[in-house]
């Protein structure tokens, strides 16, 4: 479904006055996200995971290599094709407070992708509202929430709205950028449950970006570790978590705190 092949990304370059220093964010990243599966992308801050997500979302262009979506090279799209592609790849963000426009109602926020892609989705204005209600119900909200503003919702509810917006254009690939990191654990559990349900119902393919190994282990079929812009380990979740091959993955797994007090690394020494 999504094939990332030898992708590199360098930032910086010439400006009108002065020259920026070039920074390599990704080098030679190769990753495969099979249809209907959930692939976890794990890395610490500065590992390049957000850059990779931006490239997949067509927000940034790769410097080298290519990203194939359903066989199409994303970097060779015309404007029109890119626009069409955007309906098929969607994103859910980390911060539920920043990811919704404070001055737009829930209805307008969720309906926006349908408005943008109205020619492809063939939905009239009235039909759009019905579809918004359907999406809200799907994520655990209701029609009564249609005309409210984001500040009237809790963090978990906002994240549900964000998920509804991401589903509005009926995407095939969903990029989840730390979707539960800003939430309390009890809310995180609700959102993770919602995500697994949606995946089962809609047959979504997801790229799940996170620094939380426990969450990735819980929700992903496959996992890749990103370190300094390189993939250091890739495989099925079971393989990687039980028998990591790279030093980095081993170190990270060892550093991961364990909720079982008998298995504390401090106690182990």
């Amino acid at each position: 479904m999504l094939r990332i092949e030898n992708v590199g990304k360098t930032f910086g370059g010439a400006r009108l006055f002065g020259r920026g220093k070039a920074v390599t964010a990704l080098s030679d990243v190769t990753l495969h996200v099979p249809r209907g599966q959930s692939v976890g992308l794990v890395g610490e801050s500065g590992s390049g995971k957000t850059t990779l997500a931006r490239c997949v979302l067509l927000l940034d262009r790769v410097t080298s290599g290519r990203i194939l979506f359903d066989g199409t090279d994303l970097s060779r799209l015309t404007r029109r094709e890119m626009q069409a592609m955007r309906a098929r790849i969607q994103i859910v963000f980390q911060d539920p407070y920043a990811s919704l426009n404070p001055r737009m109602t829930v209805r307008d926020t969720v309906a926006e992708p349908m408005e943008i892609h109205r020619h492809r989705l063939k939905l009239r204005a009235g039909g759009r509202t019905d579809r918004v209600v359907e999406l809200l119900e799907r994520v655990g909200l209701a029609a009564q929430h249609l005309y409210r503003f984001p500040h009237e919702f809790s963090g978990g509810q906002r994240q549900r709205i964000g998920i509804a917006r991401a589903l509005a254009s009926a995407p095939e690939l969903l990029v989840l950028d730390e979707p539960t990191s800003a939430l309390d654990v009890s809310v995180q559990a609700q959102i993770l449950t919602l995500l697994t349900d949606l995946q089962a119902q809609l047959g979504l393919t997801t790229l799940f970006i996170s620094h939380d190994l426990a969450v990735v282990r819980y929700i992903c079929d496959r996992v890749a570790f990103l370190h300094h812009g390189r993939v250091t380990e890739e495989g099925t979740t079971e393989e990687v978590f039980t028998a990591p091959r790279s030093d980095y993955a081993r170190a990270l797994l060892a550093a991961m705190p364990n909720p079982d007090p008998d298995r504390s690394f401090l106690a182990r020494g």
Binding site: L16, R86, A98, N101, I116, E152
Partner: protein, 290 residues
């Protein structure tokens, strides 16, 4: 750490509450309202309308303030109260015009620079830096001197030095908002430039612009008066506060009222807009609400 769920709404509500509680902000609003009213119908409510068209009464020169002439009369025997009332229109109108033009141009340039970034941004911002190297009063003086006298020229001259402030403000705000998740989400969903700017970014940068505008009307009025005082801009007999004061300078200390009242009018107008702007800042700008 506390639950921040209803923060924004209660923040706004608290802002309104504090604005109403603040005697000063309310006083500023009231004075601004009165000034706007006077600006609209000043010439009609002036007790001596003929003085506004340059009538001269040598018999009643330099009458001190009294029941017939509340603010006294000037060296031409004209009623100072009528002149000050009439001056409101020119001062406020030019002040508002300057801010309107300056903010329109500045918001446009700032939004373009902040949104597109790169070379466009570099170029526009160097231009802004450049215009800001000459203090606005001096720049306006030079431009007005080059353009020649007249209200329109004066407004143009001041507006030319006024837009960079807005451009800087809006650019910074747009750049901050551009990277907010909700804008990126809309970009990823395929929204175009117009939709992003118009629906997502600009509505969310409006508050600081409005605050700056209300503060700036006061300073624009002040600049108009300053140019009048220097002798650029409005020429007598058209009543303008700064010009009135410049003429009256020669009359102090004996005929102090000819200078005091136009001066107080300028002060009152600027002060009122500043109080209003300060109150609005408390209301709209959460960063300043402490």
């Amino acid at each position: 750490m506390s639950a921040s769920l209803p923060r924004r709404r209660s923040g706004l509500r608290r802002g309104f509450y504090r604005f109403r509680q603040s005697v000063l902000s309310m006083a500023g609003l009231a004075v601004v309202m009165v000034l706007l009213l006077v600006a609209v119908c000043g010439p009609w409510i002036a007790p001596y309308p003929q003085d506004l068209s340059g009538a001269v009464h040598t018999a009643i020169r330099f009458q001190p303030p009294g029941p017939a002439h509340w603010f006294g009369t000037n060296e031409l025997g004209q009623d100072v109260f009528s002149l000050v009332l009439a001056g409101t229109r020119i001062s406020l109108l030019s002040g508002i015009a300057v801010v309107a033009i300056g903010s329109a141009v500045g918001v446009l340039i700032g939004a373009v620079a902040g949104f597109f970034g790169g070379l466009i941004d570099d170029g526009l911002m160097r231009l802004v830096d450049l215009v800001l190297t000459i203090p606005s009063l001096i720049l306006a003086m030079a431009v007005a001197a080059a353009l020649g006298p007249g209200i329109v020229n004066m407004i143009a001259a001041i507006a030319l030095s006024w837009w960079p402030g807005y451009a800087r403000l809006v650019r910074a705000e747009v750049m901050a908002k551009k990277n907010e998740a909700f804008v990126v989400a809309s970009t990823a969903a395929g929204a175009g430039v117009v939709r992003l700017l118009w629906r997502h970014i600009l509505p969310n940068v409006l508050s600081p612009v409005i605050v700056k505008m209300s503060l700036d009307v006061g300073f624009a009025v002040l600049t108009v008066a300053s140019l009048g005082f220097i002798g650029i801009g409005v020429r007598p007999p058209a009543a303008e506060w700064g010009t009135l004061l410049a003429v009256a300078r020669g009359n102090i200390p004996d005929y102090w009222w000819t200078a005091i009242f136009p001066g107080l009018a300028i002060f009152l107008a600027v002060f009122a807009f500043n109080l209003l702007g300060d109150g609005l800042r408390d209301l709209l700008d959460p960063k300043a609400r402490r």
